[in-house]
C-alpha cells in the first residue's frame, strides 16, 4: 500500500475567480455529494479541497473504518461503511469535510480515482472544469519546479498577499 498520493490538487489563489465551477463539477459527478465546496476566506469565496494528508486525522478518527487510505494512497470514504457520525469532519484540521452530512454520509474527495487511476494525463474533474487555470493536479517535483508555495499544508498562489 502507498503511504501517500503522488499527485495532489493545488489551488493557485492568485488565479481563482470564485466561479464555483470546481464545486459544480464535483456535484454533478459525485451523485450530488460535492467534496469541493466554497468557503469564505477573507474577502473571497474559495474552494476548500482535501489535501490528502500523509497522517490523515480523518482516517484515525473514523470509528467504523469507513475512512481509509487505499492502495493508491488516496484517503477515501467507503460509502457502504460510512454511518454519517461526522467524526472525520471534526477531526480534519483544514475543515474540508462538510459538517452538514448529506444523505447521512460524508462527501469526500477521492481525486476522481475512476479516471485518474489509469494515469494517461487524466486530471480530477474539478481541475478539468476550472476555467481560470487555478487548480492543478501536480506532484512534488512539479510543485518545486513551478515555485509553488505551500504554507502549513495549505496550497497557495505564488504571492498570497498580491491580490486579496
Amino acid at each position: 500500500m502507498s503511504e501517500e498520493v503522488v499527485k495532489r490538487i493545488l489551488l493557485d489563489m492568485d488565479r481563482c475567480i470564485e466561479c464555483g465551477s470546481c464545486s459544480a463539477a464535483c456535484y454533478y459527478s459525485h451523485g450530488a455529494m460535492p467534496a469541493v465546496q466554497s468557503a469564505r476566506q477573507g474577502p473571497a469565496m474559495l474552494p476548500v479541497i482535501c489535501r490528502q494528508c500523509k497522517d490523515a486525522p480523518c482516517v484515525a478518527a473514523c470509528p467504523v473504518e469507513a475512512m481509509i487510505r487505499d492502495e493508491a494512497g488516496i484517503v477515501r470514504r467507503r460509502l457502504s461503511r460510512c454511518i454519517g457520525c461526522g467524526s472525520c469532519a471534526r477531526a480534519c484540521p483544514f475543515g474540508v469535510l462538510p459538517n452538514d452530512v448529506t444523505r447521512k454520509q460524508i462527501a469526500k474527495c477521492d481525486l476522481c480515482a475512476d479516471r485518474t487511476a489509469s494515469g494517461n494525463g487524466a486530471v480530477p474533474r474539478c481541475v478539468a472544469a476550472c476555467p481560470a487555470g487555478a487548480l492543478r493536479f501536480a506532484d512534488e517535483n512539479e510543485v518545486s519546479a513551478g515555485n509553488i508555495l505551500i504554507l502549513g499544508g495549505r496550497t497557495t498562489g505564488k504571492d498570497r498577499f498580491k491580490r486579496r
Partner: protein
C-alpha cells in the same frame, strides 16, 4: 465555445463529462446543461399548432432568441417574410445590443477569447470573469507572460474581476464611458501595443453601453488591440447584425409596437425584462418560465444545445457546433415550429434556401452622449454571477445552482452595511418602487457607498428594476433604481 461532453450514465440519463485535455474549463452553467437535458420539468406533450396559429390570425410579432445558430435565425426570417402580417425580432439582451451597436459604430477589431492571450494590457468594464469564466484563463495567461501588463477594471457593481485589477476605477453606475475616456485609463495603458478591452454590459447603468462600446473601440484601436464583448447570447453579435441586414424588428420596436399577438419562441421575454403585465399569447420554451406561466398557449421547443449550427464569434470568425444530443421526440426546433405555424395560418412558405445570410459589420452612427438618471439616495443595479446565466430561466432548474445560490446575492459597501446595521450573509428584504424580494447580503470592498448590486439571473431581481423602452433612441434601458433594504430573520424550524 464550451468544451462540454455528454456521457450516458444510463440509457435515459445524460450527464456532463469534463475532458481532461480541454484545458479551458467548463463553467457551472455548462455543467448544469447535462442535468437540464433530462429535466423532469421539460415541456413536452402535444404541439397545439392550430390553437397557436389561431391566435396569430390578426397579425403577430414573433420573438426568437440570440442563442440560436445562424441557420435557425435565417430560416425563421425566411419563413416570416412569406407570412403576411407577421414580423420577427431576434432578441438580444438590451445591454448587449447597445454595447454591440457601439462597437460596430467605432469600427474596432473584435477579439476572440483566445486572442486575449496575446494582449499586453487590458481595460475591463464590468464583471467579465463572472460573465464568461473561461476568458479569465486567457487574461491570466497574458498577465503571467507580460508581468508588468496593466489590468484596469472599471466597475460599479463590486465585481470579482475588480479584485484582480492592477488599477481599479470604482465608478457610479452610468459613469463607465466617462471613465473609459478619462486620464486614469489613458495613463495606465500608455505603452501598451496590443490592448484588449473586455466588456460585460450589465443592467442598471442607463443608456451608457453604446458609448462604452464606441469608446472601447477607439481606445483599443489607438493601442493596436481590439474589443471583446462578453455577451449573454452566444450569437448576440449575429443577431444584432441580422436584425439590421434582414430588416427584422429591433427589440425596442418589437416590444413597443402594437402588431397583434406577441409570440415568444424560446425566449423568456417577461423574465428578461422584469415585466409582469405584458400580454404574451403564445410561448414556446424547453422549461417553464415567467413567459410560459402567463401565456395562453404553451408549446415545447428544443434547447440551443440540441441543434447544430454556426455561431459568429469575434466579428468575422464563425464556429460550427454540433448538437450535444437530439431534442426529445416530438419537440421541434424554433424554425420547425415557425414553419408549422405559418403553414397552419395558410402562408405559402417556400423551401428554405441553403445559403447563410451576410453577417458583415453594420453601419451605425456614433452614439449621442446620454446621461444616466441616478436617483438620490441608495440605488440598485444588476451584477453578473458565474453560477447562473442570463435571466435565469434555465439555471433556475439546476440542482447545484439551487443549492449553492438559492437567493440572489446583493452586494453592498462596508460603509452602507455599517450605516444600516446589516451583517454579512444576512437575509435581506430588498424593495424598490416596482417590487419587493429577499436576497442574501454580501459586504464587498470594491463598490461605492450608495450603490447596491443584485445578481441579475433571478426574475425577482429583474422585477426590482424593470426595463423601459426608449422609443426615440430605439433602445431598451434599465436605469439605476432607488432601493431600500432591511434584515429579515429566516423562519426557524421547531
Amino acid at each position: 465555445m464550451c468544451p462540454m461532453d455528454v456521457v450516458w450514465k444510463a440509457p435515459d440519463i445524460p450527464a456532463v463529462e469534463y475532458p481532461s485535455e480541454a484545458g479551458a474549463g467548463l463553467c457551472p452553467r455548462g455543467s448544469a446543461l447535462g442535468e437540464l437535458l433530462a429535466s423532469p420539468y421539460r415541456i413536452r406533450g402535444s404541439v397545439d399548432i392550430e390553437a397557436a396559429a389561431g391566435r396569430m390570425a390578426g397579425g403577430a410579432t414573433v420573438l426568437i432568441n440570440a442563442n440560436l445558430p445562424l441557420e435557425e435565425i435565417a430560416a425563421a426570417a425566411e419563413i416570416v417574410s412569406a407570412w403576411n402580417g407577421v414580423e420577427l425580432c431576434c432578441v438580444v439582451s438590451p445591454e448587449d445590443e447597445q454595447l454591440l451597436l457601439g462597437i460596430e459604430a467605432g469600427g474596432a477589431v473584435y477579439l476572440a477569447d483566445d486572442d486575449l492571450t496575446g494582449c499586453d494590457g487590458f481595460v475591463v468594464v464590468g464583471d467579465v470573469f463572472a460573465a464568461n469564466p473561461r476568458c479569465a484563463r486567457n487574461v491570466m495567461d497574458a498577465l503571467a507572460h507580460h508581468r508588468r501588463a496593466p489590468l484596469v477594471v472599471i466597475d460599479a457593481g463590486g465585481s470579482v474581476t475588480a479584485k484582480f485589477a492592477t488599477r481599479r476605477i470604482i465608478c457610479r453606475p452610468g459613469d463607465e464611458a466617462d471613465a473609459l475616456i478619462g486620464d486614469e485609463v489613458a495613463s495606465a495603458v500608455e505603452g501598451c501595443k496590443r490592448l484588449g478591452v473586455i466588456i460585460s454590459a450589465e443592467a442598471g447603468r442607463g443608456g451608457v453601453w453604446r458609448r462604452v462600446g464606441y469608446h472601447a473601440g477607439e481606445l483599443a484601436k489607438s493601442h493596436g488591440g481590439g474589443v471583446s464583448a462578453q455577451t449573454v447570447g452566444a450569437n448576440a453579435l449575429a443577431a444584432v447584425r441580422l436584425n439590421k441586414h434582414l430588416g427584422l424588428l429591433s427589440p425596442a420596436k418589437a416590444l413597443k409596437q402594437d402588431n397583434g399577438t406577441l409570440v415568444a419562441l424560446g425566449v423568456d421575454i417577461l423574465g428578461m425584462m422584469g415585466w409582469a403585465d405584458v400580454d404574451v399569447q403564445v410561448a414556446a420554451a424547453a422549461l417553464p418560465n415567467r413567459t410560459t406561466e402567463s401565456a395562453q398557449v404553451v408549446l415545447p421547443v428544443a434547447l440551443a444545445c440540441e441543434i447544430s449550427g454556426t455561431y459568429l464569434q469575434a466579428g468575422t470568425k464563425t464556429v460550427q457546433t454540433s448538437a450535444l444530443m437530439l431534442p426529445p421526440a416530438g419537440v421541434p426546433t424554433v424554425s420547425e415550429l415557425l414553419r408549422a405555424l405559418a403553414q397552419a395560418a395558410g402562408a405559402n412558405v417556400p423551401p428554405l434556401g441553403g445559403d447563410l445570410p451576410t453577417t458583415d459589420r453594420v453601419n451605425v452612427p456614433a452614439p449621442d452622449i446620454t446621461e444616466t438618471k441616478v436617483p438620490d439616495g441608495r440605488v440598485l443595479i444588476a451584477a453578473r454571477q458565474a453560477a447562473r446565466h442570463g435571466e435565469g430561466s434555465l439555471t433556475a432548474y439546476a440542482e447545484w445552482q439551487k443549492q449553492s445560490s438559492p437567493l440572489p446575492e446583493i452586494r453592498i459597501s462596508q460603509a452602507d452595511a455599517a450605516d444600516l446595521g446589516l451583517r454579512d450573509l444576512a437575509q435581506i428584504e430588498v424593495e424598490t418602487e416596482s417590487y419587493k424580494t429577499i436576497a442574501r447580503l454580501r459586504i464587498v470592498k470594491y463598490i461605492s457607498p450608495g450603490t447596491l448590486a443584485i445578481s441579475e439571473s433571478y426574475p425577482e431581481a429583474r422585477r426590482l428594476m424593470p426595463y423601459v423602452i426608449d422609443a426615440e433612441r430605439d433602445a431598451i434601458i434599465s436605469n439605476p433604481t432607488a432601493v431600500s433594504v432591511r434584515t429579515v430573520e429566516p423562519v426557524k424550524a421547531h
